[in-house]
Amino acid sequence: MAEVRLDNVTRQFGSVVAVNAINLTIADGEFVALLGPSGCGKTTTLRLIAGLEQADGGHMYIGDRDVTNLPPRDRDIAMVFQDYALYPHMTILDNIGYPLKVRGTPRAELTKRVTEVAERLQIGNLLQRRPGQLSGGQQQRASVARAVVYHAQVFLFDEPLSNLDAKLRVEARAFLKRLQHELDVTAVYVTHDQAEAMALADRIAVMNHGRIMQLGAPLEVYRRPQNLFVASFIGSPPMNLLPCRVDLGARRLVFAGGAALEMTGMMERLPASLRDGEMVTLGIRPEHITIRETAGASTLPVKVYVTEPLGGESLVITQMGDLLISIRLFQDEPPSLPDAVWLELNMTHTFLYGAEGELMR
């Protein structure tokens, strides 16, 4: 068990900066998810921690050891890959026991320890099989078992659930979270699936272009996205982001096409630096909008575009000029609506983002 610390770690591939001076401290026993779109640098960050990539700058520490220049085998880590990487020519017993074998563990003890771990992961009856004879879920467990068996200090997961079908994925997710709590190990988990990151992690690091855009507890990241990127990435559907102009005199936000909203309810949260006429982006989650059939004192006129029943809830997608605004309703059947409706926004749940995409208080 150990803390993992990245200090200004950089990795370049030619002219592309995959990881750009990242600072990240993962506490002992903490589960941190690296979340972001393809090419954001999350996998490279994980591989840097593993030692499978060499940092071009910065330092890395596991516990109090500087591991920056250590090869993977000396870092005391375990890693689970997306394709499970089970060796087709070995039985499951030999696969799980491989890390023990290279450490020179006697065969009897190896078999004993592998059997213990396999029982715990409910694959004890499969030890004599070969990987090809196992289902995807069983292979995934075998590959986790191989990581667990040698008591490494840090667990690294590279999208370990991506190859499972949707139902198994939810199961495996719960099982991984449970296991991490029981073992009380430090874990770093790479995923592009925000639901997975939210469900599993103690903290999420949202990444883009080789940088960490926000680091925080899942709900913190969801409730208070620090910038436009995180706002547009977290949430399904993501936050509605509406460009508008600040009219300080009339205390209104004016949208393209002339529609306007009163800024009451958000005034006390506005930064002192906000200038009259400044272009900003108003952010609001789909669940904080109410649909009205008549115009109100502060409503946006929109056209209903489509409605989507999602089972437990439904989505109404509306259109204002070029903008699509989605509204989440916690009812299983979408309401029947006239073509033209008005949206009332709960202003206490709105965010203003500045021209650089930063959250303004």
Partner: protein
């Protein structure tokens, strides 16, 4: 399988195949049968038996397997033993071993060194035979050869390689000449192994040798057997060393291919030469069957 509509009827198709089949029959099938027929006769180029060859039964074969004399220099047994040494040394250990070593050393590495080594190895493979033989003849020459000039510069003397170490010389030559095939085969086989296999082993604590022994080698074994089948057969039949040593000195490098050539085309004893060719054919067939059986068993195990 989806049935594609035929462009030609089967009959028209057969018609198009006819010229090719005729060629195969004329230049492959006919000589094959003819060699077997020839091996039971005393056909020669000149003399009485040139015009009127006689059927001699198994006499040609008995001559080959006359165990009183067959291990003498210049006889079939001796030639076979030389060939076995040559195949073991230059194909199995030399080409396959060196090819595997190079492929492994440059596994998951890029850069100019890999490019240079790969290019040189492949170059040795594609240069025309006569050019290569002449180059090595010049390289190994006792008095003016590059190799001895280098050795001499370090005070290591000037051995006459082709005279005193002829078998070793042609083994080194053939290794140099043919490593490319094995190397390329193993390089592309290594490319097909998912990187995560090796990375998992790296993270789990395996050393370089352990990664090779436990992960790469078992995954390559099918390719290694395939490679051994091919290079064994090729090396068994290779003739290029004749250009270097002419089978000598004193028949020390008389491979079976050279033995056949000398019998049939230097002493013009066609019948005898044909018998040797038939025996070699059976040896090759047996070797291929053994390898294929191993390959089948190996596939069944995984």
């Amino acid at each position: 399988m989806e049935q594609k509509p035929a462009i030609f009827s089967a009959r028209v198709g057969a018609l198009f195949l006819l010229p090719a089949l005729a060629f195969v029959a004329l230049f492959l099938l006919f000589p094959f049968v003819w060699v077997i027929v020839l091996s039971f006769t005393n056909q020669t180029l000149t003399g009485a038996t040139a015009a009127n060859p006689e059927f001699v039964g198994l006499a040609n074969y008995e001559r080959l397997f006359d165990f009183d004399r067959w291990m003498r220099a210049g006889e079939f047994g001796s030639s076979l033993l030389i060939t076995v040494q040559f195949v073991l040394g230059s194909a199995l250990i030399g080409q396959a071993g060196l090819g595997l070593l190079i492929a492994w050393l440059f596994y998951r590495r890029r850069g100019w060194l890999r490019t240079v080594v790969t290019t040189l190895v492949v170059l040795a493979w594609i240069i025309p035979e006569v050019v290569v033989a002449f180059a090595w003849f010049a390289f190994l020459d006792r008095d003016a050869g590059t190799f001895n000039n280098i050795l001499d510069a370090f005070g290591l003397g000037r051995p006459d390689w082709l005279f005193n170490y002829p078998l070793l010389s042609i083994m080194v030559f053939n290794t140099w000449r043919g490593t490319a095939f094995s190397m390329l085969l193993f390089q592309s086989a290594l490319e097909t192994i998912p990187p995560s296999y090796i990375e998992t082993a790296e993270v789990a604590g395996a050393s370089g040798w352990q990664k090779f022994r436990h992960i790469l080698l078992p995954l390559l074994i099918g390719h290694i057997i395939t490679d051994l089948i091919l290079i064994t057969l090729w090396t068994f039949n290779v003739f290029t060393p004749y250009l270097l040593t002419g089978g000598g000195p004193r028949n020390q490098t008389q491979l079976v291919s050279i033995y056949t050539y000398e019998t049939a085309f230097q002493f013009f004893r066609f019948g005898q030469g044909a018998a040797i060719a038939v025996v070699i054919m059976f040896i090759n067939l047996t070797l291929a069957m053994i390898y294929l059986a191993i390959l089948r068993r190996q596939r069944a195990a995984t």
